[in-house]
Amino acid sequence: MPLLDIAGLTVTFGTDEHAFVAVDDVDLALDEGAIVGVVGESGSGKSVTALALLGLVDFPGRVSAHRMTFAGRDLRAMTEQSRRALIGKDIAMIFQDPLASLDPCYTVAYQLMEALAAHGTPGERRSRHLRRSRALELLQQVEIPDAAARMRAFPHQLSGGMAQRVMIAMAIACEPRVLIADEPTTALDVTVQAQVLDLLLRLQEQRGMALILITHDLAVVAETAQRVVVMYAGQQVETGPLPEIFAAPKHPYTQALLAALPENNDERARLQAIPGVVPGLHDRPTGCLLSPRCRYALDRCHRDMPPLDGPPERKVRCHFPLDAEGRPTGGWNREKAAEVAASMPS
């Protein structure tokens, strides 16, 4: 059984008449020690998914799911108290902007020790001295130079990379079994990004944590994850194991994301961007949500929402999934479609 098992997770905002579905029927299964990448553009519902599974979506947001279990315990049926004891200890999370995620009023040492006091071992909860030495040890583990001096620092006295290391130290302080990293390197310099990512992966391996890596950086995912979930406008559009999913994407969106990578483009040519933006509250198309931006879209795509289909290992939400050569299948034929459209009485 997977460590974290979620099926049919849906998050809606707004009233019943004007509901906005931020996360739509998302399934996620995470095995102990596994790395799952969640990719998609801004506004795809990646972060809301993470917050929802920690139970942190506030009114007026509503969360529902068919199944939501962690290590066999039902997250939906949990009391507020036991949920709070669980998150932060067994499930930890780090955020995109490390400097904003540290409380500006307290020192690094104080914040680390606070986490240990709340969720640490019984010994750590009792002894302040033990907490302090453990906090220092954690800072050394995340490779902060001159850790002893940094203990007394306030967040504004840290650089971005150092602040993210402190965040990681706080997250791993209580030996979590799942770490959710929400765009952990986006706000950092390119050189620091690689270091922080290396650190994260090394810690993941040492401790056997499961890692959910939320990012829009496909290169990062390609190097690290075992499975990938591609999200678009709150829906999963494709899931599958690496490297298959990137070698032979079945969904036009995955294909377009990969095509937009600079590595996959001719040096002189313009980057192949995906036209348009993720649909928001008021411009949700009928049919497939990608249809206005999809280069293969036919009438059927504009009319019917495709289901998430396929074997559990490799699901795709498309009427005409792509084949190994990147061509649409399932009877896709633009000329024929055009003929049909022309012959229809207008």
Partner: protein, 299 residues
């Protein structure tokens, strides 16, 4: 940026929060003058019994309305002259400092603590709680502050303690509004979410996570509120609703000497000057603190 990189490598000692605050505060000359005056007033208040040459309520009947020592007819025995019943002005002013500071401390403390709790509740829970609290505060703000204070004193009865409660009530809406705005701004920040993810409960979020981050505007408002508390107390004393004679309160000293303004201007001038200097000192200090604490004004 180069500075930051060098510091990272060399790990020079990190400046503590107090030394950083002091450096920002000391940049303004006015703030330093304000701080100096406030410290002087506090010392005067503490050592009033030692410093003042006479007991504040001792009446020297043969010396009524003696002018200050540098005027004709003045005597070095009464440096700032005497009042209509022969009490030493300087001693009364010094003891008045003690009263004014106590009034400031108590009324600001009452309204600050109430204001923090109400503002936190309004900003954190939003919804009906917020509406009820803020509308009541709006009603209080709609009344002129002195009028409201007079109304409260009229209900509670005149006296120094009741004047302080009245002033606390008058000051309250400012703290509540300030606190609510700060809480709303802070609770959307990521560190609040990350604190929730670490498992913090509602009370802990409110008082340990959000409150300290709202402290800067509150400290500034409290310092400035101090001066308006002193001013309002003097006004209530002047109207006979605050401290009662023979208490050496500056406002009631003004009131009791009003009829002598033509014949003996010093009995009115010096209490007025004392009020002016105290209020100015606290305002200068408050401005300096705002410059030092407000991140928007930081370079």
């Amino acid at each position: 940026m180069a500075d930051g990189a060098v510091r990272d490598v060399a790990a020079s000692p990190i400046p503590g929060p107090w030394s950083e605050l002091w450096r920002a505060y000391a940049q303004s000359r006015g703030a330093l003058i304000g701080l100096f005056l406030v410290l002087a007033l506090i010392l005067l208040a503490i050592f009033a019994d030692v410093v003042s040459p006479h007991p504040p309520n001792e009446q020297y009947r043969e010396f009524t309305l003696t002018p200050p020592m540098w005027q004709q007819g003045g005597t070095p025995r009464f440096v700032l002259g005497t009042d209509p019943v022969g009490r030493d002005m300087l001693s009364r002013l010094i003891h008045g400092t003690r009263l004014s500071l106590v009034i400031g401390v108590i009324s600001v403390a009452i309204s600050l603590s109430l204001g923090i709790v109400l503002g936190l509740a309004a900003g954190f829970f939003r919804g009906l709680t917020e509406t009820v609290i803020m509308r009541v505060m709006d009603v209080m703000l709609a009344l002129p502050s002195l009028l409201l204070a007079i109304a409260v004193v009229a209900i509670l009865g005149p006296g120094l303690a009741n004047a302080m409660y009245a002033i606390a009530i008058v000051l309250l809406p400012h703290y509540v509004r300030l606190m609510r705005a700060a809480v709303i701004a802070e609770s959307g920040r990521e560190y609040v979410t990350s604190s929730r993810i670490a498992g913090a409960g509602t009370l802990r979020l409110m008082f340990a996570t959000i409150l300290p981050n709202c402290a800067a505007p509150l400290i500034v408002q409290a310092t400035l509120g101090f001066s308006s508390a002193i001013l309002d107390a003097a006004a209530l004393g002047f109207l006979g609703l605050g401290a009662q004679p023979p208490t050496p309160e500056w406002g009631s000293m003004l009131a009791s000497a009003l009829e002598f303004i033509q014949r003996a201007p010093w009995v009115v001038t010096f209490p007025g000057l004392a009020i002016l200097i105290t209020v100015l000192a606290f305002n200068l200090m408050g401005d300096g603190l705002r410059d030092a604490l407000d991140p928007r004004l930081k370079r």
